[in-house]
Subunit: 105 residues, 4 copies
Amino acid sequence: MKGESDGAQGLEELARQLESFVEARDRVRFNSPKNLSMALAGEVGELIEHFQWLTQEQSSHLSAETHEAARQEIADVQIYLLLLARKLDIDLLQAARDRLQTSPR
Amino acid sequence: MKGESDGAQGLEELARQLESFVEARDRVRFNSPKNLSMALAGEVGELIEHFQWLTQEQSSHLSAETHEAARQEIADVQIYLLLLARKLDIDLLQAARDRLQTSPR
Amino acid sequence: MKGESDGAQGLEELARQLESFVEARDRVRFNSPKNLSMALAGEVGELIEHFQWLTQEQSSHLSAETHEAARQEIADVQIYLLLLARKLDIDLLQAARDRLQTSPR
Amino acid sequence: MKGESDGAQGLEELARQLESFVEARDRVRFNSPKNLSMALAGEVGELIEHFQWLTQEQSSHLSAETHEAARQEIADVQIYLLLLARKLDIDLLQAARDRLQTSPR
């Protein structure tokens, strides 16, 4: 597996880029956790469509085209998730770490 | 806004913790992008339920209880998103950065 | 396959029951298509969780318990879908028929 | 509100049209409840996108264009829901009626 490219350029940096991104656009639109949770659901819906007719096996061996499309949807999900977390003043990584430690799942 | 707690402890570290987590459980279950995309949709569904009857204004001022519940769902979404990205050999942060640069949205 | 129990007791009848149901509860809550679309997404999220770790084959042979749980989620999806359609003044069956005739899918 | 156009042409009739529709296409694709639940989630994701940046008030007064787009997504949701219910041998209307009687919601 490829490593995650964080370190100096981690989620914190991405969050800063998002601030500028949002700043340059419609601030109001991104201002409501309700709306952001809907945008998140919309992107996950687009993501799932790439896998719905595949077997589990096929979903592990995507065509280059489908892989790139899935990569973009996954990116969109991450972006809206980070926007939502920031809006709610939630530290995304800390929340995930806490969850791993407490959840038996 | 609170900062993201990455740096040395970023997504890369979380990914390692996830490996151990998955290792200790049902490997097969987490092995298919198809299944992981469904788990992602399930968690987003749980998340959205916390916001569905709130006004946009109310969704910015959650009760402590709802905030904690939302925090846990958001963490679950992040966990499944990272598992899915790793499974597809996608660098989550790089994908998000690329998306911010190319998408007019 | 079991037949659908409509005829005299079809969607129209269900819609009337829903009116009474909503009347007896929080009218405001059910009054917004935005909220209803979120409730729909929430229920679909609950539904998908019953299938996420199953193989396609297994999903065709549910245990009695999972079948009943899925039946309830499917019912909830139908209820919110009908509420949403009525709210938007959309004839659900006509819309579906139109779609079948025009969509190459 | 417009009435539902069932009676002689109810869900049962729609189900028959769906049989022909599926027959004429890829039978295997539509054969798994797992896949159908994903298709359902995908369509709900598309539907929710039409409402995500609207206020609750705005979502009650859609433009003709958005209304037609929402109508098509709602139709797709109904189609996949009926396919899923039939596949699981569930009477959609009876399930919804049972739910209304038992759920305090």
